[in-house]
Amino acid sequence: MTVLAPAVRTPVLELHDIHQVYGTGDAAVHALRGIDLAVAEGDYVAIMGPSGSGKSTLMNLLGCLDVAFHGTYTLSGNDVSTLDENALARIRNRQIGFIFQSFNLVPRMSALANVELPLVYGKVGKAERKRRALEALDTVGLADRADHEPQELSGGQQQRIAIARALVTSPTLVLADEPTGNLDSASTNEILGMFDLLARDGRTIVVITHEQHVAEQAHRVLTIGDGVITSDRISESRQLSSAWQSTGRRAQ
């Protein structure tokens, strides 16, 4: 595996001086107070923090589900902080793959239909859609469950379907919000293993979690508190492998 030096790797997303405020006047809540962040292509980043630290707010901004009160957000070279609703929907559709804590599959729709959904909104033709969705289901090892509806699947399987759905558009950024929060340890390991594979394939992944062992699977761990980034370090697993390889990203 070739690892490039940080300086030549293009950042996929860049946040500059991001502030987010909810409400007005005395009731205003300052959720983010100046976030500066760059995530390089192929990076696997975990964002940690206690509840109320602003990590969910950050996740909503990264996922283009919300627009920042102040600051700029550049996603693969495009400034998305000024886009309108429809343009944001397009960015979510083409560039971002979401994985949620509660899986968020559409009920009463087969696994295949769920995976096809982003392609439907991306106006991909029917045959092409089915082919890509089956391919994505195959990647997560659930091609044989294509006709099952979410309620017929286990939590781990549902989350794998959700991963297939996140991957089917080949997004620039895979964004996972507490992806293992509702899973037992066996399923958690399964999902984390899958993230490892994705990272090895060069996907850019941002995982939001409050679980230490989940965060340590990533390459880089950010800690957020009171709306600012309080620490930014290379994960323990990375440090180990870096030491073992005696080379690595961000070696200090």
């Binding site: 929907a89 968020n104 909104y121 029917k126």
Partner: protein, 405 residues
């Protein structure tokens, strides 16, 4: 997303809460069915009226003494010698007006008629001339009509209606039998063919005899009930009416044409009036039915609002996956329109079945245009009443929608 896929996804949404969807569907179905069916009933009764009037013959005009009823005599200032009598009828006929084919005087009264064993009360006894049997559907079914000679001699012969014939002579043919009309014996020479109903009396329960005999025995020689004037053709009815008016004014010595002692009823103008009233009847029925369709539509709004609230999270997921405002709007509109279209189709089927049965004596006749109209309106209602709930769904912010349980 193709049309078929949109329909499929809409059907899936509808199927997710079957009871609620069925109840909503029922509302639309009743609305659509009642629109089609009530329009069909209105149309059916219009056709019935038209058929009854054209039975009378559109070539005929009816002259009656005005101001009075049957044989009541003209009570106007015109005086007794100036009413419409049989003599006036004869003079009209003798005048050989250009557009008048024949003039048929009629007198009638209501009497008790007896056969060999049974008797019937309040039977219409009509006195007229043989020409009566040449007008409209007044055809002889069996036997023969009485003749001009019978009229001259005031013969005691009669043609009777089918109902009366079978009532008086339940076992055998009435032809050649003797009947007694208020004590006067008549021999039955003919039986009328089956007559269609025109008014409130049964046209098949009637005794028709030479006018001279009926006047002699029952009504006297005063005013006749009416003169039926047959024009030379249906195009000449109006011309014939004009000629009649001039001639009658002369014969009756009418000075003031605003106070004529007679009225002329034109069957074709009667037809036009009846058609107009039938049309307004149809519109009225349609309006009542439209209200029920409106109520069904409001039901759709209600159900769609509940559906949108219930599926807030799904809307959030879809938006996170890149659904635009329009995509969400389209999804819920398609669902509402599919729901009402299904209701509309069921309503059409219900109406088609319902139209097989007579409705208060009227056989409904479905108007061809009412089916696509009702279906179109039902889809339009789905879209109209679905817009508000769908717009609410489309306007949701993804993060709030995702937070919903």
């Amino acid at each position: 997303m193709s049309f078929a896929e949109m329909l499929l996804s809409a059907l899936r949404g509808i199927a997710s809460n079957k009871l609620r969807s069925i109840l909503t569907l029922l509302g639309v179905m009743i609305g659509v069915a009642s629109v089609i069916l009530l329009l069909a009933v209105g149309n059916g009764s219009a056709q019935q009226v038209n058929a009854a009037i054209s039975n009378l013959g559109t070539t005929t005009l009816t002259v009656r003494a005005s101001g009075g009823g049957f044989g009541g005599g003209a009570a106007s200032a015109a005086g007794s010698e100036k009413t419409i009598t049989r003599a006036v009828g004869d003079q009209l006929a003798a005048a050989k007006l250009g557009h008048v084919h024949s003039v048929i005087p009629e007198v009638n009264t209501s009497l008790t008629v007896s056969g060999t064993s049974t008797s019937q009360t309040s039977i219409t006894v009509l006195g007229t001339t043989p020409d009566y049997f040449t007008v409209g559907t007044n055809k002889i079914g069996s036997g023969a009509a009485f003749t001009d000679a019978d009229v001259t001699t005031a013969a005691k012969v009669a043609v009777i209606g089918q109902t009366l014939a079978s009532e008086l002579f339940p076992t055998g043919s009435a032809l050649g039998q003797q009947i007694s009309v208020d004590g006067t014996p008549f021999s039955v020479v003919g039986i009328l063919s089956q007559q269609g109903s025109v008014g409130f009396t049964d046209p098949n329960s009637v005794v028709i005899a030479p006018i001279s005999r009926v006047q002699d025995s029952f009504t006297g020689y005063g005013t006749v009930s009416s003169l039926t004037v047959e024009a030379t053709s249906s195009d000449d009815v109006t011309a014939a009416q004009g000629e009649l008016e001039i001639m009658l004014n002369q014969l009756l010595g009418v000075k003031d044409t605003a106070d004529e002692p007679y009225t002329i009823v034109n069957q074709s103008s009667l037809l036009a009036t009846a058609a107009t009233s039938a049309a307004s009847f149809t519109v009225l029925l349609g309006a009542v039915a439209a209200i029920s369709l409106l109520v069904g539509g409001i039901g759709v709004t209600n159900v769609m609002l509940v559906t949108v609230t219930e599926r807030t999270r799904e809307i959030g997921i879809r938006k996170a996956l890149g659904a635009t405002r329009w995509a969400i709007l389209g999804q819920f509109l398609a669902e509402a329109a599919t729901l009402t279209l299904l209701g509309g189709i069921l309503g059409v089927i219900a109406a088609l079945i319902g139209a097989q049965f007579p409705f208060n004596g009227t056989q409904p006749v479905i108007l061809a245009f009412s089916i696509p109209l009702a279906l179109g309106v039902s889809v339009a209602i789905g879209i109209f009443f679905g817009v508000y709930p769908a717009a609410r769904a489309a306007a949701m912010r993804p993060i709030q929608a995702l937070r919903a349980i």
